[in-house]
């Protein structure tokens, strides 16, 4: 098994609902199986479970909303300033 960084495993956990469900059922085994090193895998047994779900939901909302939230300078203002 190729070792993965803890951040890489967390990125999967935050974005993959089925992996998250499996992980919450058996955190250490799933982390080990994904290639997380032994110390980090064991530490994930104490993960903040409510926080994991809340963070994952928040990230999903952000992914959906980000493009809509921020706009460049409107065209009429670009015309005013951009010459």
């Amino acid at each position: 098994m190729k070792p993965v960084s803890l951040e890489a495993f967390l990125a999967r956990l935050y974005t993959d609902a089925s992996l998250r469900a499996a992980f919450l059922a058996d955190p250490v085994a799933v982390a080990r199986g994904a290639g997380v090193d032994e110390d980090a895998a064991c530490s994930l047994d104490r993960i903040d479970r409510d926080g994991l779900e809340l963070a994952a939901e928040s990230f999903a909302r952000k992914r959906a909303a980000r493009r809509a939230n921020r706009r460049r300078l409107p065209a009429w203002l670009r015309g005013l300033f951009g010459r």
């Binding site: 993965v4 990125a11 993960i47 903040d48 928040s58 992914r63 980000r66």
Partner: protein, 291 residues
Amino acid sequence: MQTLDAADRVGLGWRGELAAAILEHLGSLDVLEVIAEDWVHGNRRDSAALATLSRACPVLLHGVSLGLASSEPVCRRRLDRMARLVARVEPELWSEHLAFVRAGGIEIGHLAAPPRTEATVAGALANLEQAKRVVGALPWIENIATLIDPPASTLDEGLWTSAIVANSGAPMLLDLHNLYANALNFGTEPLELMRAMPLDRVSLVHLSGGRWIAPGSRKARLLDDHLHDVPGQVFGLLERLAQSVEQPLTVIIERDGNYPPFEALLAQLDLARAALARGRVLRAEQTRQAA
């Protein structure tokens, strides 16, 4: 890039939805903060517009997607884009978050708190050094809000942040609502958490608002959503910060939606100015008594 002005300043995050009102009220704003990612793919006219804006009002560039606080290396292509934007706009400064936003080829889509460990301190330091090399200056680095207590951490937030700030030499952008939310969500006194931060390196401050969320049976947590007014407790923290530090502070209010009438945003800026002024008065009294 220039150094910050010698006096406290208060400004607003530029958002397209607020553009007309911001331009109409530029005289009420000391400074504007622009999201870098909104402009990195812009055309020549976009860049010219932003450069013109930066001549009308001091502009700060704020990055949200580099993901500098990670044991994985920062994406060189993204750094190059930031460098080009900084060169075109010539902002006073640029800033980024102490967060990771991708790892192992997966985009999280937003700022995530990395494990607070020696490994991510080392990773952040390497990434900051690379950012300095490519962009030409270190970013101001910002603490983030997190809904999850960062897994597998071995350092607390104050120690982790201080280690990165001290060893990188980077100045700090202290987001007081992020700090307030983390303190409430994970059982720390906000003032205690603020005091654990490297306050002597803070010259830039973010203020924003949020809301409590408690889906299902989960314990309520404060979400930093930038959609609500800055709470009074956060203005209180700003007052204490202004009392605690000598250096000038530049304060930016961030609002990403649910926009109130612009006069209400200006009133929030006035509350920030008032909090700064109260803090400075208290600091002057402290100094007088100590003399």
